[in-house]
């Protein structure tokens, strides 16, 4: 089943599943939580050795990996907890206060 919530803003009271149940699994990606962040992680590609520890530790699965390499952060879901920056053995991740321009990563 795929629960289509693309029009949720237009739903009327009776369109919502009864009692605020969520009648499907795997849809937390539809819930954008990046706005909760006060600091965002930024990765220095020169320092990064691609050990992937940050990817393992991130509690929100917000670190994107392609071909076994860290590529970008998923800022739609990264809550800015700083776990990745703390765990990176090579100090390749810095937490930057929000309110600054994003450097092209999305």
């Amino acid at each position: 089943m795929s629960w289509d919530i693309s029009k949720i803003d237009q739903w009327k009271a009776e369109d919502f599943p009864r009692g605020a149940a969520i009648p499907d699994a795997g849809n937390s990606r539809d819930y954008v939580t990046g706005g909760w962040r006060s600091e965002r992680p930024e990765r220095d590609d020169d320092k990064c050795t691609q050990c992937l520890l940050c990817w393992i530790f991130c509690p929100d699965s917000a670190i994107n990996v392609a071909d076994e390499k860290v590529t970008t952060f998923n800022y739609d879901h990264c809550k800015g907890c700083g776990v990745c920056a703390t765990e990176c053995p090579f100090d390749a991740i810095t937490m930057v206060p929000e309110g600054c321009e994003l450097k092209g990563e999305k």
Partner: protein, 396 residues
């Protein structure tokens, strides 16, 4: 073929019997006077293997209702029972059960709230829970407590409703007095309530996984969920009626949302809920024999409140007394009075209406008090002034 046998039993024994016949998957309960004998009796049925219910003994009513919420979300048919301080301790879960739209059925033995400590009948506990989103039924007799329990299952689990139901009986007066009642055979009750097939069960592996108890805050649809809940309890009014008619056809007892005695041509009427309706009717019969046009209106369903039916029933009266067995301190009157008076607001012709607070903490509801109320009403109908505020009936 439906067969009934006549039993002499207490209200609590009959509620436990009805619960056994409805065969809940889970019961989670904590004992509290005067409800204890319901869960005690039910525990006996479980121990004897007469019902296959997962009986969860918990450490408080807060936990009892929490376990009920979890079990109901999992997809079980769930029942419990409580009273007074126990109901008060369930407070937050009462809202959670109705907000999550879980069809839990709970019996409440109506009892006063502390302080001072008192274990006897009044409606302070259930009336305090009147805005928790539960459907609320009041039984006058042990028989009605039995029937209401069975009907509650059908009402709660009806697809148009899916809300919890509180089925209440008066502490000690109805819970502990032995009364004569007709008990239906097990097969007929089982067929009447049917099986429960939840569509959003946590533990249904044959359907996509579901999550319950979700967040809907900060610009989310909380407001819309409450509107849906309001629609559901509004829809329950028709379901309560049709389930009542259906059960009535089987057991041959009537189940109106309100029940009038002498209301067709009554000039003076008492509106009451629970066991007191019987006291009022007894006196009304005496007065009728003397030619006084009196009537008694019993309210069996308090939530959803039968506004239109009550307005129609009372519209032709000259003077009406509402008997409230609980307070709403600082309000214009007790909970029943506020609703009844509001029900009459839209009518062009309105009777004079007086609120009597009575019987708090089990204070005796003597027939003499009922006579006094009818006599007050008679004076008002003859032009005496309507009391400017509620009357504490029989208090020193």
């Amino acid at each position: 073929m439906a067969t009934q046998k006549t039993l002499a039993a207490t209200g609590n024994v009959l509620v436990a019997e009805a619960m056994r016949q409805c065969a809940p998957d889970v019961m989670a309960a904590y004992p509290i006077t005067p409800q204890t004998t319901i869960v005690e009796e039910f525990a006996k049925f479980v121990a004897q293997g007469r019902v296959h219910t997962e009986y969860v003994t918990v450490e408080s009513e807060h936990s009892a209702m929490s376990a009920c919420v979890g079990a109901s979300a999992a997809g079980a048919r769930v029942m419990t029972a409580t009273s007074s301080q126990g109901l008060a301790l369930m407070w937050e879960e009462l809202h959670i059960a109705s907000g999550m739209r879980l069809p839990i059925v709970m019996a409440n033995a109506n009892r006063a709230l502390s302080a001072p400590i008192n274990i006897h009948c009044d409606h302070s506990d259930v009336m305090g829970a009147r805005d928790t989103g539960w459907i609320i039924l009041f039984a006058e007799t042990a028989q009605e407590a039995y029937d209401n329990t069975i009907m509650s299952v059908r009402i709660a689990e009806h697809p148009d409703v899916l809300l919890p139901v509180m089925t209440t009986l008066d502490g000690f007066i109805t819970t502990h007095s032995i009364d004569r009642a007709q008990v239906m055979d097990d097969e007929t009750v089982a067929a009447f309530v049917g099986d429960y097939h939840p569509d959003l069960a946590l533990l249904d592996d044959t359907k996509p996984p579901v999550s319950h108890g979700n967040f809907a805050g900060l610009g989310g649809p909380y407001f819309e969920f409450k509107k849906a809940q309001r629609n559901a309890i509004d829809r329950s009014a028709a379901v309560i009626k049709s389930v009542g008619e259906e059960w009535s056809a089987i057991c041959e007892r009537p189940f109106g949302v309100i029940e009038g005695w002498g209301m067709e041509d009554a000039e003076l009427a008492i509106v009451a809920i629970g066991s007191t309706a019987g006291n009022a009717r007894h006196v009304a019969r005496e007065l009728r024999a003397q030619g006084v046009r009196v009537g008694v209106l019993k309210v069996r369903v308090f939530r959803p409140f039968p506004f239109a039916e009550i307005a129609d029933a009372l519209g032709g009266c000259k003077a009406v007394a509402v008997l409230d067995r609980s307070e709403s301190f600082g309000a214009e009157g007790g909970p029943l009075f506020l609703e009844v008076r509001s029900a009459l607001y839209d009518r062009a012709e309105r009777p004079a209406i007086v609120d009597y607070i009575y019987g708090l903490g089990g204070a005796d509801v003597k027939l003499e008090l009922m006579r006094r109320v009818f006599s007050d009403l008679s004076d008002i109908a003859d032009g005496a002034e309507v009391p400017g505020r509620l009357v504490y009936l029989g208090a020193r």
